[in-house]
Amino acid sequence: MFDIVSFFPRAVMQGVPLLFGGTGEIITEKSGNLNLGIPGIMYVGGICGVIGAFLYEQSAAELNSFLAVAIPTLSCLLGSLLMGLLYCFLTVTLRANQNVTGLAMTTFGIGIGNFFGGSLIKLTDAEVPSIALSATSKVFSKSLPFADNLGWFGKMFLSYGFLAYSAVIIALITAYVIKKTRVGLNLRAVGESPATADAAGINVNKYKYIATCVGSMIAGLGGLYYVMDYACGVWSNDAFGDRGWLAIALVIFSIWRPNLAIIASILFGGLYIVYLYIPAGTQLYMMELYKMLPYLVTIIVLVVVSMRKKRENEPPAALGLAYFREER
C-alpha cells in the first residue's frame, strides 16, 4: 500500500530547496538573465548560513532562538546577494556572455561551499570534530506547535520548519508581483524586449540588477533550508548535489510561473524519492532511472512548449542576451 502520509512530507522536503531556487531563477529569467550560476549561489547561500550559525554557536553560551535564526539567514542572504551582484556586474555592466559567466559562478560557488565547509574548523581553530549545527537546526526545523495533534493532516501540512512555508509564500508573492503589479509588468517587458522597456522609460539595468539580486537571495535560502532543516545542520561537501540544476529544470517545467512551481517542486521532490516507495524497491538500479524523471519531463515540457508556440508559455524572448542601448 502506498503510504501517502509519509511520502508527501518527504517529497515536500525535497521540493523546498528546488522551489527556492526555482522562484529565484524565475525572477532572474524574467529580467532576461539566464543565470546558470544558481547552483553555485545555492551552495554559497548554504555555506554562508553555516558560517553564520557556526560562529554564533561558537561564541554564544546559550542560543537565543531569534538570533539563531536571524544570523544564519542574514549571512545567507548577504552571501547570495554578493554572488548576484557579481553576476550582474559581469553580465549587465560589462555585458559578458551569460552562459560563460553563469558556469564560472557555479564553479566558484561550489568551490566556496566545499572549501569553507571542509576548512571551517581548521580556519577558526575551533575544537569540534565536525560541523553539526544541531542546536541551530532545531530552531530552523521547528514545526508548528499543534502539528502533532492533528494526525495525518498535521503530518502532511504542518510538520515543516518555517523556511518551507516561507518558500511557498515567497513563490505566491512572486507570482502576484509578476502578474498583477506595475513592477512585475515592467520586469516582464525587460525580459521580453529590453529596447521596448527602455523606450518606455524603464531603467533596464536597474531592473536586471534588482531582479537578479533578489532572485539570487531567494535561491540562496534554498541552500540554507537544505543544510539547516533537511540535513539537520550537518554540512557535508557535495551533499547538496545537483539540486541547483534541478531548480533550473523546475523553472522550465513550471513554464516561468512561480505558483505552478510550488506544485511542480513537490512533484520533482516526489520523483526524487519515489523509488523508496515503489514495491520493487529492492532493485536499487531502478532508483537511478526514477531520478532521471524530473529531467525527462522537463525536456518534454520544453519541447511541447516550443512546438505549440503559445507565446505566453515560452521563455522570455530576450533571455540570455545582453542589452546595449546604442547597439547598431
Partner: protein
C-alpha cells in the same frame, strides 16, 4: 559648461576592432591581475608568502616528468571537450551538454568492454568501442539539435537537461554492472586481461591520448577554417537569413554540427574509459563539459589558442589542489581560484569590445584610445 553636474560622467561606446596584439594584451593583463588577486586570497587564507604559493603550484605541474605528463593528460582531455563544443558555439548554438555527451561516450565504451570482452578480439573491440562512443556522443548531441532545428527549442536548457539524463543513465548501469554486487561501483574493467584497453605507446600511459587530441585539434582547426562545412556553420552562426539567402540548409547544418560536436565528446569519453581510467562512473566527465564552455569562449573559438587556455585551466586546477594539500586546505580551493581568474578574463572582454568615452574633458583621450 554651466550644468556639469547633470551630465553623465562617461558613456560607453562600441569600439572598432582592436588589433589582435592589443586585445590579447588586455587579456594577458587580466590574467596577471587575476593571479595577483589569487595570491592575495591565498595569502589571507594560508598566511604563506605568495611566491612560495606559486612555486608550489608550478612544482605540482612541472616538478617531474610524471607531473608534466599528468598536466598534459588533463590539458588534452579539457582540450578535447573544448574542441567538441566549439563548432556548435561558432554556430551560436549554446551546447552546454558536453558533460552528458562525454558520459554517453563513456557509457558506450564501457558497455562494449564489458559485454564484448569474451566474444571479439582485442583490436576489433577497441575499434568497436571507439565507434560506439562516437555514435553515442553524436546521438546525445543530435537530439537537442533536432528539436532546435525543427521547433527552435531552447538549446541551452535542453542540452543542460540532457547532462542529467546521461548522468542517471550511467548511474543506472553502474549499479547493474557493479563489481562486487552492492559496491556501488564498477572497479577496473578487464583488469587482468586488459581487453579493450587502448595500448600504451612510447612507454607512457598518456602519450596516445595526447597525440589523438592533438591530431583532433588540427583537424578541428582545419574543419572550421578551411572546409565548406566550417564555412557554412560560421555563416549560420552569423546570420541565419544570409545562410538561407545563399541556399544553405540551416536545419541540416545545425543537426550536422551538433552530431559532430557530440561525436567529439564521444571520443573524449572513449579516451577516458578505454585510454585512461578503464572504469565507468558518473564523475568521469568531472565537469569538463562546463569548463570547456569557458575555455572555448576564452579562446575566442580558436582551437590553437584553446591549447593554451586548456593548459592554463589544467595548471590552475592542479596547482590549487597542490596548495590545498600542502597547506592542509580543502581541495575545492582550486575551484575558487579558477573562478576568480575566469571572472577577470570574462570581465576584460568588455574593455576589448567597448571603450568609455568621457564627456568633454576627455575628448582627446578618447581619440587616442581608438
Amino acid at each position: 559648461m554651466n550644468n556639469n553636474s547633470k551630465e553623465p560622467l562617461f558613456h560607453i561606446v562600441k569600439r572598432g576592432t582592436l588589433p589582435w596584439y592589443k586585445a590579447w594584451g588586455i587579456r594577458l593583463l587580466a590574467v596577471v591581475i587575476a593571479l595577483i588577486v589569487c595570491a592575495i586570497v591565498t595569502m589571507t587564507v594560508t598566511g604563506e608568502n605568495p611566491i612560495q604559493v606559486y612555486a608550489t603550484m608550478i612544482d605540482s605541474s612541472f616538478g617531474s616528468e610524471r607531473k608534466v605528463w599528468i598536466l598534459a593528460q588533463n590539458t588534452a582531455m579539457l582540450l578535447g571537450v573544448s574542441l567538441a563544443v566549439t563548432p556548435a558555439f561558432r554556430m551560436k548554438f549554446w551546447n552546454i551538454g558536453g558533460e552528458g555527451q562525454i558520459l554517453a561516450g563513456c557509457l558506450a565504451a564501457a558497455a562494449c568492454m564489458i559485454c564484448l570482452a569474451d566474444t571479439v578480439p582485442n583490436g576489433l573491440l577497441i575499434v568497436i568501442s571507439a565507434v560506439a562512443s562516437i555514435i553515442a556522443g553524436a546521438i546525445w548531441g543530435g537530439i537537442p539539435a533536432f528539436f532546435k532545428a525543427k521547433w527552435n527549442t531552447n538549446e541551452t536548457l535542453f542540452t543542460l537537461m540532457m547532462n542529467y539524463v546521461a548522468t542517471q543513465l550511467v548511474a543506472f548501469f553502474v549499479i547493474i554492472w557493479e563489481v562486487p554486487k552492492g559496491a556501488g561501483q564498477i572497479g577496473i574493467i578487464n583488469q587482468s586481461t586488459q581487453i579493450g584497453w587502448l595500448p600504451q605507446i612510447g612507454g607512457n600511459k598518456y602519450m596516445l591520448n595526447v597525440i589523438i587530441i592533438l591530431v583532433l585539434t588540427v583537424a578541428v582547426y582545419i574543419y572550421l577554417n578551411y572546409s565548406k562545412h566550417g564555412y557554412e556553420l560560421s555563416v549560420v552562426g552569423e546570420s541565419e537569413r544570409t545562410a538561407r539567402y545563399v541556399g544553405i540548409k540551416v536545419e541540416k547544418v545545425i543537426i550536422r554540427t551538433m552530431l559532430l560536436s557530440g561525436a567529439i565528446c564521444g571520443i573524449v569519453g572513449f579516451l577516458l574509459v578505454s585510454g585512461t581510467d578503464h572504469t565507468l562512473s558518473t564523475s568521469l566527465s568531472g565537469g569538463r563539459g562546463f569548463t570547456a564552455v569557458m575555455i572555448s569562449w576564452l579562446a575566442k573559438f580558436n582551437p590553437i589558442i584553446m591549447i593554451f587556455a586548456s593548459m592554463l585551466l589544467a595548471f590552475l586546477d592542479k596547482g590549487a589542489s597542490a596548495i590545498s594539500t600542502n597547506f592542509g586546505l580543502n581541495h575545492s580551493f582550486s575551484d575558487i581560484l579558477t573562478g576568480i581568474i575566469l571572472f577577470f578574463i570574462i570581465g576584460c572582454e568588455f574593455f576589448i569590445s567597448y571603450k568609455l568615452s568621457f564627456r568633454k574633458s576627455a575628448g582627446k583621450e578618447a581619440a587616442e584610445n581608438v
